[in-house]
Homo-oligomer: 560 residues x 2
């Protein structure tokens, strides 16, 4: 049973080392080019995706009640026409529960080996999954392949590595020898790692893989069967992954019901019934802060891990040159129409501008520069950069923000024409200007491509505003541009004090909101943007306990 | 600052190794003899304890409102007359909070070194603390010295070792190099371990040190200041430890308010105000299941770690000889009048008796044998074995149990005369017989020395009853006596399946309810008897997060 483990041991051990050294490492390729993939892999993936369209998606899960499916491609605005089995939550949970004991007893190596094999199956499926992600979440193909592909596989592997590391510190057995006043007593002890129970992983509509793969694999590796509940608008990439995982499980002699798919609809959401099921012991959630908080307080029977959203800020203090900063900000604002949890929203700038090289550059100039960069990028690279948008109300919400009396619109949100998909629902960035006083407007996440340039008294005020929002509303990523080394160090400390991870002077790291598995801790779990970090020891260690047996050797077997 | 760390590094590394090998190890002595301690240590400890009596206990804590103290020695039934400062919970929490940043910034080695030094100070104080434990909790001197002394210090050191191990896996910094399409980008990353915030540790009246020391030290090592809230009847041993820790902190250049004592009274308990204080982020609790459950659901701002109580069972299936089993059970029932969380209460035995050697021994004979062993032990060793009892209502509660119509009293609870302390409040074991049907009587913890011999259909029924209670009501320790190896293996599996740790054929390990630091995981955290294990990775890893900064090197500094 540990054949798979031996097969993947090298990759696993490299991953463990990577999490300890935290430099750059990845066994997966971000490039969809022929150089990295066999000829025809892309075409085969596309064909596999297209073969799903208009069809029944077969999963052979227990408790199938009916079929649902309401995905619409943000690129074509046409229904995908895929129908999924809607299964009774109770049937899925009970089947998962029934599969637990054998999976637990298979042992750590068998489970970890199986998780590595699942990652291998997902890697083999990466083209099909990228097309599925594109036509559900609205990501560009490139992002769907790199971000929802390689980068998400990395996050999954990182979780397996951390789980392996945490579980490895507990020996299978020990021999305990001491005297209790008389002759030496020998106790043979054994330690059994016990999973908490059935886990529910709730993935989000815009980025289904990135948080879900680590949660799924952390759970499976530590012995907890998983029911995955995708967003009803983004089912297909998750369904492909679940089906592949079920096939790996069966092929290696385990129950397929260790992972299942719970599909619901927008009109009849099924999350509450799953998360509050009395047999569910773990909930991993990615989504809105409001629902994350509700889960946190409403599932006392479960450990709840959340990543929600915060107020991601940029503090602009100084730079060597404006163009690289403008490019970095404009790109971060445009990429996937800022529908990533690490996208910056609030750009705090001193009212009287910043020092750039030897010159002083006014706030007006900075805003104008970023707007022109956005214009240029959208015009030149819109289809490859912005992708499309699922939410039909996003454009209206951004327009309404621009209508607020205290807001000056520097760039209204618009659309771009997609050459391949003329029906694509596109939303280009809104660039707005407000005063730091207008906190009620900016101190919350507005999902989608909007930047507030926020005029502050001076750099310290800008920093104070950014860190205050991180503290009070959370932040998943913060950014700082400053070439004043002494001040920058203070500012970094202020961000760290606020519990907010910060990237400084990101110019060559593009997009700025890239977070690297094995190197970047994603979400601190210390502020309102989420209770769990991807992926630290606490992310995995809370998913299992240790139950032990000790057996005293008869004196006769212990001739000491 | 890491001078203390270097000084204690050898002991720390041995402790880490011990948690990985999980055999027997301890740097502390359980024996109060002259051979292990310098001449006069015991007398000096006793003098230090006596010097506290009738006096103001000085702590120089912030927010002192008035003085309280209502401890009564269970041995003399006289008040200790020690008065403690009662401080405003808010003042203690705010002072702790104010001390946090410098403590966090001192770094892992400085904090761990300081924790090791605190352990050293507690070790030096072990005689005084034993007398204080004896005359508050009612433990015998021997138990107060070994169990509340060495064994509790071991649990504290184990927590420091685990915290060190968990924190050590995160590097201080890393260098991340990769290309994002263009030339190589170099990011200097740094990782800051961030404590969650102020912690409250609530210790219990009967065994103040055992759960509190690990919680206190896990918190301090991971950077969280601690307010310790002892049971109002058992303040002195905790107060001595807090004062010693404050002195160590000051001597090593830190704020004393990193640890403080919150004393309350039975009439005006202060726990709720502390645990629900908005700045409190961690609560460690030892005590009743009802209050543990309340804390769990009522402190959403905090991580809550509980150890409460369960239904500890013995399954008697067979033995080589009756006397060793009788001795083991009688001693476990008598020691400290069964006021330990690992004491067995429910002894499940097949109705028609068990095989002992080549013979069949009836349930009547087994009960009679255990009763006679209890009688003999209490008569010969009562003062050294049973100690005394804090609770004036315990004897009445046990008598009332015996009056239940479905109960047959095999041995009524009584008292023994203490030669040194004629006023000692003593309670000797009640041995009761019930049928397995009378679940409402036995399937909950009755705090104090009471054993139910529970008549079952057969061994499988006995096992099913014991594991069912563990599953539904939790168990902190379970016991099994069987020389049928095949059946015993099944039974061990059944206990493990129920999430209950089990000790088999414990005869030479006396007392049977001894749990060894570094070797035994105490509490699984998987059943209703508590949410936290002492001491696994989850116990420490949940107490801190990681916040990171990454700074991109200017291209000019990066000539690649």
């Amino acid at each position: 049973m540990s054949e798979l483990f031996e097969q993947w041991r090298g990759r696993l051990e490299s991953a463990v080392r990577a999490t300890e050294e935290r430099g750059y490492w990845s066994p997966f390729s971000e490039s969809a080019s022929r150089r990295h993939h066999p000829d025809g892999a892309r075409a085969a993936g596309q064909a596999a995706f297209e073969a799903c369209l208009g069809q029944r998606f077969e999963l052979s899960q227990p408790g199938e009640c009916d079929r649902v499916g309401e995905e619409v491609s943000p690129f074509t605005q046409q229904p995908l026409g895929v129908s999924y089995p809607r299964c009774s939550p109770d049937a899925l949970v009970q089947a998962a529960r029934a599969a637990l004991p054998a999976w637990r007893d298979a042992g750590v190596q068998a489970r970890v080996g199986c998780c590595m094999e699942i990652l291998g199956a997902w890697e083999a499926q990466v083209f099909a999954n990228a097309f599925a992600t594109m036509h559900t979440a609205g990501q560009t193909f490139r992002m769907a392949f790199a971000g929802s592909g390689a980068n998400s596989l990395d996050r999954g592997l990182e979780a397996v590595a951390m789980a392996w590391k945490a579980m490895s510190t507990v020996p299978v057995s020990s021999v305990f020898r001491r005297s209790f006043g008389g002759p030496e007593v020998v106790l043979d002890k054994r330690y059994r790692l016990v999973p908490r129970g059935v886990a529910v992983v709730i993935s989000c509509g815009s980025y289904p893989a990135w948080n879900a793969w680590p949660a799924v694999l952390a759970n499976l590796a530590t012995g907890n069967p998983v029911v995955v509940k995708p967003h009803p608008r983004t089912v297909l990439p998750v369904a492909l992954a679940v089906r592949a995982a079920r096939e790996v499980l069966v092929a290696s002699g385990h129950s397929p019901d260790l992972i299942s798919l719970a599909v619901d609809t927008l009109a009849e959401p099924g999350t509450v019934a799953l998360a509050q099921h009395p047999a569910v012991r773990i909930v991993d959630f990615t989504g809105s802060p409001a629902f994350g908080a509700w889960l946190q307080s409403s599932c006392p029977q479960a450990q709840v891990f959340t990543e929600t959203a915060g107020c991601n800020a940029v503090v602009l203090e100084s730079a060597l040159a404006l163009p690289p900063v403008g490019i970095a900000l404009a790109q971060g604002l445009s990429i996937f129409s800022a529908q990533m949890c690490t996208a910056a929203q609030n750009i705090f700038v001193p009212r009287d501008g910043i020092r750039v090289g030897e010159a002083r550059v006014s706030l007006d100039e900075i805003v104008a520069h970023v707007v022109s960069r956005v214009d240029g990028m959208v015009a030149a690279h819109g289809p490859d950069l912005c992708g499309a948008v699922q939410d039909p109300h996003m454009a209206g919400r951004l327009a309404a923000l621009g209508d607020e009396p205290r807001v000056t619109v520097a760039r209204p949100s618009g659309t771009y024409a997609h050459p391949t998909w003329p029906q694509a629902r596109t939303v280009t960035p809104a660039v707005l200007r407000v005063d730091a006083d207008a906190r009620d407007l900016y101190a919350r996440e507005h999902f989608g491509p909007v930047a507030f340039f926020i005029a502050c008294e001076d750099r310290d005020h800008a920093l104070a505003c950014a860190t205050r929002d991180a503290r009070e509303h959370g932040a998943i990523a913060s950014y700082l541009y400053s070439v004043d080394v002494a001040w920058r160090e203070q500012a970094v400390d202020a961000f760290l004090d606020a519990g907010a991870s910060v990237g400084c002077n990101l110019l060559g790291q593009l997009p700025i909101n890239y977070a690297a598995a094995y190197s970047d801790f994603h979400v601190t779990g210390l502020d309102p943007a989420g209770t769990a970090c991807l992926t630290d020891l606490a992310f995995v260690a809370r998913r299992f306990g240790v139950v032990q047996a000790k057996v005293e050797r008869p004196r006769s077997e212990n001739p000491s």
